[in-house]
């Protein structure tokens, strides 16, 4: 059973001190503190689909005009019949179908625990096909490049290279308000380093699912402790070598986080929810286990990062999607079930990101090439489920939503809006949004409404 986090007296004192103005304020300045009025616990969980998920085949509008255009243009990639889930209707009665291997996702949509945010991608500002082709309005740097568009999604700064990610900047905000009562990082990755969790003043913790940060080979003997002390003493020394110092910082974090994490996880109880024995299943299980002991870690706000790779489907897309979606969908469903088991379903929102979507027109070898705007999934008890937010593109090669003639959709919703909606629910106030999402003011709305 999930026990709502209780603040110990010591933690309350620390929070009290925090609101008294002894905070590390940069870069957020003095902002209204949320700690006393906000909800007790909230978590965001990013599932990054590396390689560029062809979301044209994730969810398909099934009204006859759209579906006919879809079938005729997508050719060998078009899904039909048993390739699709049974048609579901959104809350407005419009028909959609998901890829057949996304059965659980479709069910979550029907039960209003999951929504779709359509045609979203990195933008500096809204852009039309004419503007794109004339190259006379600000555009994201290095469109269609994997690495660059991953960074654009993770930084939510589409132009140039940002040294920080948007969730890292949210973590900076959390730290600036001392919303968490421990020094344990609020960004937690089970999928390695990622820009999204790198802040200006905060650094992520990364563990392997089921792994431990505790160093092997030590006991309480004097000989052993002398060796450990020697190791630790070197981590705080500045020898003048910049990269050695950078590595020292990460190793020191590892040692500091190790004890807190082990002690907290030891208090967890086995989850009843069964997770698939896939990589993404193991990652989401690990996240659920950490959420279970959030209060023991002193956390009231956490952001998690998981990933699933292999979506670069230049060829053989149908088979690849069958494999990957069959991993993704049951893992997401299990994770949602686990949050229900923990009584935290309303406190945890899961969302997808990906490099980009792919050309609507197929490519030689039954695949698709790099494109831009993509459809994304948001899941959780707080999500306004069963709805499509944003707008599907017009399925026409060379049409108004196409950059060229291959169906590379120009996003009509920006990553900034997507991230700002998630961050607002998470507890970032309006006054701090512009720091986290510097391009947000270029868009008409800072809240897409999928979180109430």
């Amino acid at each position: 059973m999930y026990v709502p986090p209780k603040l110990s007296r010591r933690k309350l004192i620390r929070l009290g001190a925090a609101t008294a103005g002894t905070l590390a304020l940069r870069p957020f300045g003095v902002l209204p503190a949320l700690a006393q009025s906000g909800p007790s616990y909230r978590a965001l969980v990013c599932v990054f689909l590396f390689g560029g998920n062809d979301s044209n085949n994730t969810v398909i509008p099934m009204d006859s005009a759209n579906y006919q255009a879809y079938t005729s243009i997508r050719g060998a990639l078009a899904l039909s019949g048993t390739d699709l889930t049974p048609t579901v209707q959104d809350v407005n009665g419009n028909p959609y179908a998901f890829h057949a291997k996304l059965t659980e996702v479709s069910s979550l949509f029907s039960s209003k625990a999951l929504a779709v945010v359509a045609n979203t991608g990195p933008l500096v500002a809204p852009v039309t096909r004419a503007q794109y082709q004339a190259q006379n309005s600000p555009l994201p740097s290095n469109l269609f490049s994997h690495a660059d568009q991953q960074l654009a999604w993770q930084s939510s700064i589409a132009q140039g290279h940002s040294p920080t990610g948007w969730a890292g900047r949210v973590a900076d905000y959390i730290a600036s308000q001392n919303l968490n009562s421990s020094k344990f990082p609020s960004f937690f990755s089970v999928a390695g380093n990622s820009l999204i969790g790198t802040g200006a003043s905060t650094q992520p913790v990364a563990i392997s699912p089921g792994g431990s940060l505790q160093l092997a080979g030590f006991n309480s003997s004097a000989a052993s402790q002398a060796r450990l002390q020697s190791l630790e003493s070197l981590l705080t020394l500045h020898t003048g070598a910049s990269l050695a110092q950078a590595a020292n910082g990460i190793m020191a974090d590892s040692i500091a986080d190790a004890n807190a994490l082990s002690a907290a996880l030891a208090k967890g109880t086995a989850l009843k929810t069964t997770f698939p024995t896939t990589s993404i299943g193991a990652q989401l299980k690990q996240i659920a286990q950490v959420i279970q002991v959030a209060s023991d870690l002193g956390m009231t706000r956490q952001i998690f990062f998981a990933s699933l790779g292999g979506f670069d489907t230049h060829t053989n897309e149908l088979n690849t999607h069958n494999t990957l979606y069959a991993q993704l969908s049951p893992a997401l469903a299990a994770f949602f079930e686990a949050t229900q088991e923990l009584g935290a379903a309303n406190d945890v929102t899961t969302f997808t990101e990906s490099d980009f979507s792919r050309t609507f027109q197929p490519t030689s070898g039954n695949g698709s090439d790099h494109a831009w705007g993509s459809h994304h999934l948001v899941m959780g008890g707080a999500v306004q489920g069963g709805q499509i937010f944003g707008k599907f593109p017009m399925f026409e090669l060379g049409g108004p939503d196409d950059t060229d003639t291959r169906g590379r959709w120009i996003p009509t919703t920006s990553v900034d809006q997507y991230g700002a909606t998630l961050s607002t629910w998470f507890g970032v106030p309006q006054s701090a949004l512009a720091t986290v999402f510097p391009n947000l003011a270029n868009f008409s709305s800072s809240n897409l409404g999928f979180l109430g």
């Binding site: 390695g192 380093n193 790198t198 160093l215 080979g217 910049s242 950078a246 230049h314 030689s364």
Partner: protein
């Protein structure tokens, strides 16, 4: 620590090595200088290799290394004999890879080949058959000291790359089916293997337009057009099979062209160049390679990455410029001469500055040992013996680098990844709180337990030199730290060792503290 202590240990080491040498010669380099070269150019210094380099001098040593080509990865059966299914077991290949790093003399060739394989990436994550990998690896081994243009051609026609980036069976646009040429190889060839995304100055800094914006090397139209140049190629025909226009996957030999599937229209590509209409697939490939080699941005783009892999993550623009000048012209109007480029990288004053203990220290020199570099270094320094069943790949995978399994064509880590402090630190992309702890645990296993059944280490060398802690630490300074261990590390290792109750435990504790230190993990 005292200088005399250092000298005694150095002489002792040289004495051991000298026994293996038949000729007498006067050392031309210090232990420190030779060890630094060997950390940049090999899989780690050993007493023997230090002595060799000291006596040969850098130029002769480089020429000797250029002449060696001894390491191979064993060809693998197509089918698993037990199941009759596709053989996807790469273990014998990875075991041979690490054994070669520890024992084969063509050290520089292997290092350069590994660096090239991190630019020209294929991955076992999507290429299942194990037999695809040894032939692909041999491209870099055999061209490591050849010409970059030949690497472009050899990789382009390799069926492993054909499968990985879908150049194999990439057929021209089919209006009936509504398909277009596959853009995958076209894009990554330019973005990752040759030119990069934006134009670079000869010193590696981005070229800027009049509005101070980077200048893209190509745009989407070029990707689409270049993709058409790469249509028509298919897999080699398997032994005993009948050739088809689009052969099934087969990884022995080179891909061949089926002209009926090749797009022969004109292809405007980058920098105003148009591939003429009516050419064959092979002629188009020749045109593309010529066009790529003529782009001045290739020299700094590739030079910077090779410098990062061998010497330092943060070369000065002047260093990059000196190397890229040689990449552009080896002095005989030949571009892409790898022997000249590698020589320029390793003999550059910036690479060599740290050889002199009295030179001003460059705080940004060096790079974090990536796991695949760290393990051979550890194994060589600890006199390891590897067998066919050695499983070092398990350790590097735990530390974030699963050999031959990079997650994508973007390799194990990005050449442009930065540390939180803002410095370039490519290897830091896979250095996390988890993998930092794993490094320490691998060191713990090596010193106190067992790495795996097929790998053993031998600490008796260090026990011999543990006549006093001072001698022991001076010895370790020579074998692991270019004879330049800092006073603070010396003190920390001394403290740990002096708390131990046996001579062996002292050796283990001293080595543990040094190996886990970032003074060692970051090669300076």
């Amino acid at each position: 620590m005292s200088n005399s202590g250092k000298i005694i240990a150095a002489l002792a080491l040289a004495g051991i090595a000298a026994a293996a040498q038949s000729t007498e010669a006067i050392p031309q380099m210090t232990v420190r200088a030779a060890s630094r070269v060997l950390d940049q150019a090999t899989w780690g210094p050993t007493p023997l290799s230090v002595t060799q380099l000291q006596r040969m001098g850098l130029e002769n040593w480089l020429n000797w290394q250029f002449s060696l080509n001894t390491s191979d990865l064993p060809d693998q059966p197509l089918l698993d004999p037990a199941t009759g299914k596709t053989n996807t077991n790469l273990r014998p290949v990875t075991a041979a890879f690490f054994a070669n790093t520890v024992t084969e003399p063509d050290q520089l060739r292997q290092r350069v080949a590994f660096a090239l394989s991190q630019i020209w990436v294929i991955s076992h994550t999507s290429i299942g058959p194990a037999y695809a990998f040894p032939p692909y690896w041999r491209i870099f081994r055999d061209h490591a000291f050849g010409n970059y243009a030949d690497i472009i051609k050899a990789v382009t026609l390799n069926p492993g790359m054909g499968a990985y980036l879908n150049m194999a069976n990439n057929v021209k646009a089919n209006p009936t089916k509504g398909t277009a040429a596959n853009e995958n190889y076209s894009r990554e060839l330019m973005q990752l293997f040759t030119l990069g995304l934006t134009q670079l100055n000869p010193d590696g800094t981005p070229a800027l337009d009049s509005n101070h914006n980077p200048v893209p090397t190509y745009d989407q139209t070029v990707v689409t057009n270049l993709a058409r140049a790469f249509t028509g190629w298919t897999y080699p025909t398997a032994a005993g099979a009948t050739a088809k226009n689009t052969n099934p996957q087969y990884f022995i030999g080179q891909m061949f062209a089926v002209e009926s599937l090749h797009d022969t229209s004109a292809k405007p590509i980058f920098n105003g160049i148009t591939i003429p209409p009516g050419q064959t697939a092979e002629q188009d490939l020749t045109s593309v390679i010529q066009a790529l080699m003529a782009q001045p941005t290739m020299a700094p783009f590739i030079s910077q990455q090779l410098i990062e892999h061998l010497v330092t993550s943060n070369p000065s623009p002047a260093y990059v410029q000196r190397v890229s000048k040689v990449f552009g012209d080896n002095g005989q109007r030949v571009a892409g001469d790898m022997k000249a480029v590698i020589t320029a990288i390793l003999t550059d004053p910036e690479a060599r500055a740290g050889d002199d203990p009295n030179a001003a220290a460059n705080p940004n020199i060096g790079h974090l040992r990536e796991p695949v570099l760290f393990m051979p270094n550890l194994l060589r320094a600890l006199n390891a013996t590897l067998t066919d069943t050695s499983a070092i790949y398990n350790d590097t995978a735990l530390m974030g680098q699963d050999l031959f399994n990079p997650p994508s064509v973007f390799s194990y880590f990005s050449p442009s990844y930065r540390t939180q402090g803002g410095l370039l630190g490519p290897e830091f992309q896979i250095y996390t709180t988890q993998t930092a702890a794993e490094r320490a645990d691998v060191i713990n296993a090596a010193l106190y337990g067992k790495l795996d059944k097929g790998t053993t280490i031998d600490l008796s060398f260090y026990e011999t030199f543990n006549t006093s802690l001072e001698t022991l630490l001076n010895t370790i300074s020579i074998t692991l730290l270019h004879d330049s261990m800092s006073t603070s590390l010396y003190q920390a290792a001394y403290n740990a060792a002096s708390a131990q109750t046996s001579k062996l435990a002292q050796v283990q504790a001293a080595l543990y503290v040094v190996l886990t230190s970032n003074e060692y993990q970051v090669i300076q």
